[in-house]
């Protein structure tokens, strides 16, 4: 049977608990870094007059689905969290949509059901900008 070694035990407990907290913090940071969703429309990239697919399309992690509908002179963009994991990540948070060509830079807010909406101008450059864009969640908000 071991004899008591309070100093070593107290130290080791401090270390393992601090290490566990650090690991959790690192996972949180990885989560924050992952708070970005990339969308690529490869088929449309070669098209002269890019038209977003009517059935919508997904980000590379398949967590968000974007649907675009033309309403008169506007292009209505709906973003929907797909599944519980995605909902947990985006519900109630602000998002920023930025296209690779920087034509689009729009902020919006996801509701508690993981839905967000943005109205854009329906113009050829806007349609083209949707070929490649990302949605980033606001880092300052609690995830």
């Amino acid at each position: 049977m071991s004899t008591r070694n309070p100093r070593a035990l107290s130290y080791t407990i401090r270390v393992v608990l601090a290490a566990a907290e650090a690991r959790r913090e690192l996972r949180g940071l990885a989560w924050q870094r992952a708070a970005k969703f990339e969308f690529q429309l490869l088929a449309a990239a070669t098209s002269e007059l890019a038209q977003p697919p009517a059935e919508g399309w997904y980000d590379s992690q398949r967590q968000l689905k974007v649907t675009a509908r033309i309403q008169g002179e506007e292009l209505h963009l709906s973003v929907q969290a797909e599944g519980y994991e995605a909902l947990r990540r985006v519900a109630g948070r602000s998002g920023r949509l930025r296209s690779a060509d920087r034509i689009l830079d729009v902020t919006f807010k996801f509701d508690q059901a993981g839905n967000a909406f943005a109205a854009l101008k329906s113009a050829p450059d806007v349609h083209r900008a949707l070929i490649s864009f990302e949605i980033a969640l606001d880092d300052s908000e609690q995830s």
């Binding site: 107290s10 130290y11 080791t12 290490a19 913090e25």
Partner: protein, 360 residues
């Protein structure tokens, strides 16, 4: 796993800005003089970037220990490497392979000992510090910053499995951070609004500690800053370098101490865990020993059965959020209406209290 010092630096600064903005980067004692970004840089220089002094009792610093631990995580030539002092000049190392890379990186570090360093004495008594590998060795500077240890370590390194190897490495990192933070925290704990970055190079650690006793005396007497009150306090709490009270009163540090007001230093100390760093590597328990000791802790009724389970699982690498969902811990948290963080804090406090009780 690759260590990219540049990426790591950016991540560290980002982490400071994200998690410690209020307590360190926008600290009220210097927030008006610098923005958070500059404070992050100066904090880095004052802590991880600061060369650690050796003393007669500490012939290798925690930065050396971190460097050795990182080298031992490099597969191949360095896997069984050791860092030690040995009499005689370091053997000439070749310039190839990982040892050559380390040698080139270490050669860029200054070898000039800091004032007050015990390095010259240690060097003549115990010999230089060398990283001894299978068939080669590299001379290592006497004084290293923790950041030097990281930046000069080999890459890639092996990922550590959860449990003992990971925890043992963490114990070294925790010792490093505590040692690196200590001078800044000592200055902040004086309870006067000094910007630590201004005074780190001006005051020795002994001076800071003596000033702390001196200021505590004034506070305990509840008297204002007057030359007479300082004279009385200095008589009972001498401060190295200031024999006469007039010299302390008129000195830059004396002027700074008088001109800023008094703050509750005790609360700050507690918040910042200002405790003496320990030589963790000697205290850290291997898994079986740890489990036995935790059982004894349970036998002493310091912790309950569920907490014993939690401590053993955490050592083995279980994630806190996952543990909180396991039935025994979930029931405990519900029963005591605690979060997992509150439970951990409570365990820490009980263990500290128990340790202090057994020591007295």
């Amino acid at each position: 796993m690759r260590i990219e010092p540049g990426a790591l630096y950016v991540r560290l600064i980002g982490l400071l800005a994200a998690g410690y903005a209020e307590s360190l980067l926008k600290h009220p004692w210097y927030a008006s003089r610098m923005d958070a970004e500059e404070a992050a840089g100066r904090y880095f220089d004052a802590t991880l970037g600061r060369k650690l002094l050796l003393t007669g009792r500490v012939p290798l610093s925690v930065a050396h220990r971190l460097f050795a631990a990182l080298c031992a995580r490099c597969a191949g030539a360095l896997e069984k490497s050791t860092l030690k002092r040995r009499v005689g000049a370091a053997r000439a190392a070749n310039d190839f392979g990982v040892l050559g890379t380390i040698r080139r990186c270490l050669s860029k570090l200054s070898r000039e000992p800091s004032p007050g360093s015990a390095s010259p004495t240690l060097l003549s008594r115990l010999g230089p510090i060398v990283l001894a590998a299978r068939d080669d060795e590299v001379s290592v500077p006497e004084e290293m910053a923790i950041w030097d240890a990281i930046a000069c370590s080999p890459s890639p390194i092996m990922a550590l499995p959860p449990g003992e190897p990971f925890n043992r490495f963490c114990s070294i990192v925790i010792d490093c951070i505590r040692t690196a933070n200590r001078p800044v925290l000592e200055l902040l704990s004086l309870g006067r609004p000094l910007c630590p970055f201004d005074w780190l190079d001006e005051l020795s650690i002994q001076q800071v500690r003596s000033l702390k006793s001196f200021l505590r005396h004034l506070k305990s007497q509840d008297v204002p800053d007057t030359l007479e009150n300082w004279r009385e306090a200095l008589k009972q709490n001498p401060v190295p370098g200031f024999k006469a009270v007039e010299a302390l009163w008129r000195s830059p540090i004396g002027t700074a101490l008088r001109n800023g007001g008094i703050y509750p230093s005790v609360a700050l100390e507690q918040a910042m865990e200002l405790v003496e760093p320990e030589n963790g590597i000697e205290l850290f328990l291997v898994q079986q020993e740890y489990q036995d000791q935790v059982r004894l802790l349970r036998a002493d009724e310091v912790i309950g059965a569920e907490e014993q389970y939690l401590l053993i699982e955490v050592y083995a690498g279980a994630a806190l959020e996952e543990l909180a969902e396991r039935a025994p811990i979930r029931a405990l948290l519900r029963g005591r209406n605690l979060t997992i963080d509150e439970l951990i804090e409570d365990i820490r406090e009980r263990v500290d209290h128990w340790q202090q009780g057994t020591a007295s």
